[in-house]
Symmetry: C2
DNA sequence: CATAATCAGTGGTAACGTTCACAAATGAAC
DNA sequence: GTTCATTTGTGAACGTTACCACTGATTATG
């Protein structure tokens, strides 16, 4: 909780920088300039330097940045030095794909518990992850000290499951449902709305296609749609 | 291609508005105010009015907005009045989940062709969608008049497949790989980076947890990370 | 050691996005 | 028809983000 105000736009780019630094490190590179980084992550080099500067002077003029130390620095910032357990609420199509999706590959994040209501699933183990009934959600979150959850349930129970997550002490929810759920202050929701993304993409290619000078980020991620509190 | 400059932030919210308008219409509601919309989509009411105003005067003072006509208006804007075919490149875990994911439910978007290199998959039909070898990609895009693609391939072939897509005439790519691919002017890439999202979420809950007054949009869709050209 | 090339850090500014606050328009009530 | 309650549309203020352009530190070269 050290540095006060890292801009949100900067925070969203940190994982991108971190990933590429890992790549450079594994490729044996010792140094990198903001210009080289810029090419790979497609972020303006001035923006990269500004982003890094919020954390202090991490580079050396005339030299660039030391890959290993910068990588380690961001590793700590992104909590990659310890394992983060995540709950998966809703083990349907998308949920199961996320179980298979290897968050751990180069990342200290793993889904450690799944929750569903479907009787066939409960008690089974998928990709090494035990599936519990949602009735056990609050209890398990507490027991396993989980404070981050992925929500992949049908829309009509999205708010209900969110309330349970909040009650279980979740602090962060990655919401794959199209519902904008309501949460109390202190809980952060990150919306990943796939249909929304696709529709936006289609809108852009239909209405922005001939505006040439137009290269930028998120998003956002767009996709990027996140908010805090209610 | 009518109205010139709809802000990107506005464009990203259109699908959200559209979806809720559909919901209201199906619930038999005839009118809605920006304040009511605001509650549901969690966007400030002034922002909603501003967003709508870019398209002209869509509402009536003292009344609000007519649900049906607004819904139809956005339906056209979002190309929902005609079917959009999308290609899926990479029919692995995530790809198959997206095949199952019902984009068509309330949306005139469907995945109409899948592409992979895995021999077991080629020639099969998943969820009604035929899977072709990637060697047929360029040919099929052309034949099926597809200009939007979802990219869910391993990182190491992301750029190669992107190049094929561009060659096949794709104008929009929803990129699920962590690679920031390079594309020529006129092609829009929308990055959906799940690991990135999760890491950002974890970063936020660790560093922003006690900054209370902090509720906003996108996304930082974030997730929302999109760009144009190279 | 001197000169050239490189490159981080940052002040300034422009572009973009959000929100306040209010006038003008409309509908509802009686 | 007058009054009251709503609610849009928008000028203006504010906040955030991105980028240019330059200074000065450092390395590389001969």
């Amino acid at each position: 909780m050290a540095e006060k105000k890292i801009p949100k736009a900067t925070a969203r780019r940190l994982p991108l920088y971190y990933r590429y630094l890992r790549f450079l490190y594994e490729a044996g590179k010792e140094r990198v300039s903001s210009a080289k980084l810029s090419e790979a992550v497609k972020v303006d080099s001035a923006t990269i330097r500004r982003d890094f500067s919020y954390f202090g002077a991490l580079g050396k003029r005339g030299y660039g940045y030391d890959v290993e130390s910068l990588m380690n620095f961001f590793s700590k910032k992104l909590n990659q030095d310890r394992l983060t357990n995540v709950a998966l609420v809703g083990v349907g199509n998308l949920g199961q794909a996320l179980l298979n999706y290897n968050f751990r590959r180069n990342n200290n994040i793993r889904i450690s518990a799944g929750f569903d209501v479907h009787e066939d699933l409960i008690g089974t183990i998928h990709q090494g992850v035990p599936i519990y009934h949602v009735d056990e959600l609050i209890e398990q979150l507490d027991m396993q000290q989980i404070d981050v959850a992925i929500l992949t349930v049908p829309s009509d129970i999205a708010q209900e499951m969110t309330d349970k997550l909040v009650e279980g002490g979740a602090k962060g929810i990655m919401n794959f449902t199209p519902i904008r759920v309501t949460v109390p202050k202190g809980v952060r929701v990150h919306n990943v709305d796939l249909t929304n993304e696709l529709q936006t993409l289609i809108y852009f290619i239909n209405y922005y296609q001939d505006f040439a000078d137009d290269s930028e980020e998120e998003a956002d991620n767009p996709l990027d749609d996140l908010f805090y509190n209610d």
